[in-house]
Amino acid sequence: MADLAVNLAGIRLRNPVLAASGTFGYGREYAAVVPLDQIGGVITKGTSLEAWTGNPPPRTVETAAGMLNAIGLENPGLKHLVEADLPWLASQGATVVVNVVGRTVDEYVAVAEALDARPAVAGLELNVSCPNVDKGGMAFGVHPESAYALVRAVRKRTRLPLLVKLTPNVTDIVRIAEQVRDAGADGLSAVNTLVGMAIDIHCRRPVLGNATGGLSGPAIKPVALAAVWRLARVGLPILGGGGISFWQDAVEFLMAGATAVAVGTATFVRPRAMLEIAQGMEEYLKCQGIERITDLVGAANPGARTG
């Protein structure tokens, strides 16, 4: 049997297919159709110190081969995660990465610190790339200096594997990634959604309550893949994602330089997409006579330092 296991920046995964943050709740929502011990891992909804209420509706709208969301990081907060979700996720055999958000550096640090000693948490994904909140979110991820400062502060308070989730809405994603690397991150997660919008021409106003939102789904795959391709030279392991629907898409991301992939919008369309992708990869490896999935990492990218 082909070996799908990977080590992503110190996080051991049974296969390289993870549920993208914000698209899989806290694992419970889809558990009836997606056994959590059969996917690589669950990345939780962005979690903040206190509960956040999120943005006014409408919060989603469909676009060509994609969707916009402006959820605004609605989440029940750290306490709920720790008390209700983590024990349950552990009982399901899920590998859990917590996506962390905050309005200030201190808030990020507080969440990271509180999760540090928890065996139910395999790693953290620092969200410096959410386009849908005023404070925090993307604000930290678009400037090299603020990204550096935030990662450095969190790094000091946690020994958990630390991924930093980058935004594609920047001039030079590699420069941000280098700062993040120098500040002590263990890996990169790329990419979050693209800023986009839709207008309701009958009502003459934006469709989304928040006016703009984040674009995800097949539409953004080429952009996400190009980001991973460029980031592969930074030398940190990469969790790639953006528009992955089928195993072929996932293999493209690996060949560009990703060690594992996150699947989001595809789950809404085909709840078992992650399982199908992992299975498709396994069959592909078998057909090609490749023993380890890790042999594909960076295979199409001469500039990759992650393969």
Binding site: T23, E29, P56, E62, A65, N69, E74, P218
Partner: protein, 253 residues
């Protein structure tokens, strides 16, 4: 919640742009309750991308079938309309929190347009339980009173209202509620404007509203289907609804 490859048994035109689909989906039919919905993949391509939520209008556990009544609005429902008997279709369900029958009060069902769909399933449940049930249904014109045949089949009488007066009362269906609320509990589904009116007219009468929102996941994972909660904050239509107690939600703000 099941993810089931259902088989289309029927998909016929009821009226302009309105269709009735019968699906063989035994796992979902086994547990679907009145007011719950299914989340369907209308076709295989990337456009439109997302699933479409439709209320379960009828559910036959023995036959393992579901009836959906839907209006062809945009591309998703157009793709659905293309499906032929024998085709497979990917269905997730049953989803959401359905109607809760208030004990002791006569259920008065208020339907606007294709909102009649979830109320048919409630009428079906009342009949099954041997409870009395009253229905008022409105539409733009007589031919669009698309629930009539199914209600008649259930033996449930229906009082009609049409915007153009072509059947029953001329005017909004809420015009049929005046003086009729005593000893009743209201169950309403239809366009937002109608639901807001029901909310206002209900007063002390218990009322439940079946609400719509754009949905991505349909299962509570994306937090995309928020509606406004009375007193602030939001509720998820897909898991906390689609049927809300009238005082839980607000159309203001």
């Amino acid at each position: 919640m099941n993810l089931e490859q259902a088989r289309v048994e029927e998909n016929r035109l009821l009226a302009a742009d309105h269709r009735r689909m019968v699906l063989h989906a035994p796992a979902i039919a086994a547990s679907a309750g009145a007011g719950q919905f299914v989340h369907l993949r209308a076709h295989d391509s990337f456009h439109p991308l997302l699933r479409r939520p439709l209320s379960v209008a009828r559910c036959d556990r023995t036959a393992g079938t579901l009836v959906l009544i839907y209006r062809v609005l945009g591309e998703g429902t157009a793709r659905l309309a293309d499906r032929r008997p024998g085709d497979g279709i990917d269905v997730l369900g049953p989803l959401g929190r359905g109607f809760r029958l208030a004990p002791g009060l006569t259920p008065l069902l208020v339907a606007g347009g294709v909102g009649v769909a979830p109320l048919i399933s409630l009428a079906e449940e009342c009949v099954r339980m041997g409870r009395a049930v009253e229905v008022v249904a409105g539409a733009r014109t007589a031919s669009l009173l698309v629930g009539e045949a199914d209600l008649r089949e259930l033996g449930v009488e229906c009082c009609s209202a049409t915007d153009d007066g072509s059947r029953g009362y001329r005017g909004p269906v809420t015009g049929l509620l005046g003086g009729r609320l005593d000893g009743r509990a209201l169950y309403a589904a239809g366009p937002a404007g109608m639901l807001r009116q029901v909310q206002q007219l209900a007063g002390a009468t218990p009322a439940q509203l079946c609400i719509e929102a754009a949905m991505a996941c349909g299962v509570g994972a994306c937090r995309g289907c928020a509606c406004r909660a009375r007193g602030g904050g939001y509720r998820l239509v897909c898991t906390e609804g689609p049927v809300f107690d009238s005082h839980e939600v607000t159309y203001d703000g």
